[in-house]
């Protein structure tokens, strides 16, 4: 997994509450057995007109100024619904590395960290302010430092954010979760030998 440390990039707004993973990537694209190549399916039903090809001019992210986006600005409960990891895969393949929102759905939040993506929870009024700023200024960029847990806006103001230290460490190092766990393999074996669990009977 690619480590995530610091990023400066274009911000795009997605002004919708409760964006579910069915919207992030609709079901017809979950039939693939590959892990990459999902960029064209991101927000498919919103992004294209009914022909599935023509970009929908009403979809804000389609505007020219948001091309090359790497930071998505979103609303409450982003990523709710289905557990499909295809949602972070599609965002990642489209170029998005950071999602800023007041809150995230639990499974989506975890899935991000397994794909080198940083979801950042920010207070609702900060998100509101960023929505205003990004729309007011063409080419609006943010600089995000995971090491410092800070976001710097174009006018130089600094927004700090909280993140669990273990998740931060994993992202900074791009650690493979399975590798981490297998360092404790003897403990897994010991647990299985103890057979303390009637629930483990097969």
């Amino acid at each position: 997994m690619e480590p995530f440390k610091r990023l400066r990039g274009i911000v795009a707004p997605l002004d919708s509450l409760n964006v579910d993973t069915d919207q992030i990537i609709p079901k017809q694209f979950l039939k693939r057995i590959e892990r990459t190549g999902y960029e064209n399916f991101l927000f498919f039903d919103w992004r294209y007109l009914d022909d599935g090809e023509t970009p929908n001019p009403a979809f804000e992210m389609n505007a020219k100024r948001y091309q090359g986006v790497s930071i998505l600005l979103a609303r409450d409960n982003f990523g709710c619904g289905s557990s499909r990891e295809h949602a972070p895969w599609a965002l990642y393949d489209y170029g998005i590395r950071v999602v800023l929102a007041p809150s995230f759905a639990d499974i989506f939040y975890n899935n991000c960290f397994n794909n080198g993506m940083l979801p950042v929870r920010l207070p609702a009024d900060t998100i509101e302010r960023l929505f205003k700023e990004v729309r007011a200024q063409d080419g609006y960029e943010l600089t995000i430092s995971l090491i410092d847990q800070q976001i710097v806006t174009p006018d130089g103001s600094v927004i700090s954010f909280d993140i669990d230290p273990f998740l931060k460490e994993r992202l900074l190092n791009g650690w493979d979760q399975i590798g981490l766990t297998l360092r404790h393999e003897p403990k897994i074996s010991a647990y299985e030998k103890r057979g303390q669990a009637p629930f483990s009977r097969s």
Partner: protein, 469 residues
């Protein structure tokens, strides 16, 4: 110290814990389906890893499979490839697989309990958000992503952090005509689709105790729609009675010994929760969703919202957008909303009791002329056989419903069963998201009895006033 059931299961499954890190939790049962597993098995191949405990891993195909004639190959080549990929992965890695021709097959969250693979006190995961269903048995069960599926296959463990706990107590008694589906929709309507975020919910109270295992599964199933990590119900005599004699229940030790062990997982008297919410069963009415999120719900006597009455600007915007998508004016009484498609099925509501409820309403009636298609999709082949032995299939067919093979079907429309743009569907499933059942399709979530009543009347109707024949 008195512990709640979540704390008991968590403590008993801790493999390793150190400050500042996620704990390593042992996983007792891992369910696998064709959509969220191919990349996980591929990951094992690329790293030369094996499935650590294949005997604790159970696979089935449910999302892509046709609900029509199964003697023919699957039409969609991508669906066929995904189904075959799982079959091949199971052969390569030694995992037990119930394919669609196996009489034990069905939706993964229906067959786990039905076969007795799901048991109290277990930790259960699956790459599927509705894994919360298994919590009805007093198991800690939740959905995971594909990277985590690979992690569980490789290590039989998962990295987890302890959740907060919320008790949702439903006191009193449910009125006649009000079901488990109405209970959970009313709860989501109350706490919102993010109301459970960060929590594991335990459902308690006399209404929950009085529910059958099937009703409890419906409640736990939609816990994810409230944003919670998992939902569970402490095991009791209803739980153990359901499990007796099921195929994967061990025969040694005796059932009595097992049942006594299971009951001990129940929350201790005087245990604590981080938050408690209380509802009265008597206050709950049949529910219908009006919007594009399960929290956008009202009662059958309710109306779609009036935008000017919504005080929160973001909420108002969301409601306006949802009404636009749903093609419904503000303030529309739900009983005036006409539908043209009916879907009775899904891991939420396709067990035998659900089909009995729907058949009881449909019996002796005819599907309304305004309905273009009404399908009944049993949750598993066993449910299908049971329903047929009770003659439910004949009741449905005589009324004008189609009787199908089991599977996820039009809950998420990955197979051929889907809504067309503009279709309006009364569905017993769990999600009314935009396009969930087909692009441009409009979904209203209801109980099986309410869906059957909508099929007969062509519009939503209060099942409490139904004339049963």
């Amino acid at each position: 110290m008195a512990k709640n059931i979540y704390e008991k299961i968590w403590d008993a499954h801790l493999v390793h814990e150190e400050p500042g890190q996620d704990a390593i939790l042992y996983i007792d049962r891992h369910f696998v389906h064709e959509v969220t597993s191919p990349q996980a098995f591929e990951g094992l191949r690329l790293t030369g890893r094996k499935v650590r405990r294949p005997e604790l891993t159970f696979a089935t195909m449910d999302h892509n499979i046709p609900t029509t004639d199964r003697s023919r190959p699957i039409d969609d080549p991508l669906s066929a490839q995904q189904v075959e990929t799982l079959a091949q992965n199971c052969r390569d890695f030694g995992v037990r697989c119930f394919d669609m021709h196996d009489r034990r097959s069905g939706i993964v969250h229906i067959i786990g309990p039905e076969l007795g693979i799901t048991q109290p006190g277990q930790t259960i995961v699956c790459g599927d958000s509705h894994t919360s269903t298994h919590g009805a048995f007093g198991a800690l069960a939740f959905g995971i992503g594909t990277s985590e599926v690979e992690h569980v296959l490789a290590t039989q463990t998962l990295l987890q952090r302890r959740s907060q706990t919320m008790e949702i107590r439903v006191d009193g008694k449910l009125p006649v005509g009000v079901t488990a589906k109405d209970v959970i929709l009313a709860i989501i309507g109350k706490i919102g689709t993010a109301g459970g975020t960060g929590y594991v919910i335990e459902y308690t109270g006399s209404v929950i105790r009085a529910l059958s295992m099937e009703g409890r599964m419906t409640v736990c199933n939609m816990t994810i729609e409230a944003g919670a990590r998992a939902g569970l119900i402490s095991p009791d005599a209803t739980t153990t009675a359901y499990l007796r004699g099921r195929e994967f229940i061990p025969t040694d030790p005796s059932f009595e010994v097992l049942a006594a062990e299971w009951i001990r997982w129940a929350s201790d008297a005087g245990c604590r929760y981080d938050r408690t919410l209380v509802l009265r069963g008597e206050d709950i009415e049949p529910q219908v969703t009006w919007g594009t999120s399960p929290g956008m719900v009202t009662t059958i006597r309710g109306r779609t919202p009036v935008l000017a009455e919504l005080t929160d600007a973001n909420e108002r915007l969301a409601a306006e957008r949802a009404l636009g998508y749903m093609g419904l004016p503000e303030g529309t009484p739900m009983t005036e909303v006409a539908v043209n498609r009916i879907f009775i099925g899904s891991c939420t509501n396709a067990r035998i009791e659900d089909l009995r409820d729907a058949a009881k309403v449909a019996k002796g009636h005819k599907v309304h002329s305004g309905i273009d298609e009404a399908i009944v999709v049993p949750g598993s082949q066993q449910v299908k056989l049971q329903a047929e032995s009770e003659g439910l299939d004949r009741i449905f067919v005589e009324a004008g419903f189609e009787w199908r093979e089991s599977g996820c079907s039009m809950c998420l429309a990955m197979n051929a069963d889907k809504l067309e743009p503009g279709d309006r569907c009364a569905a017993t499933s769990n999600r009314n998201f935009e396009g969930r059942q087909g692009k441009g399709g409009r979904t209203h979530l209801v109980s099986p009895a309410m869906a059957a009543a909508a099929a007969i009347r062509g519009r939503f109707t209060d099942v409490r006033d139904w004339t049963f024949k």
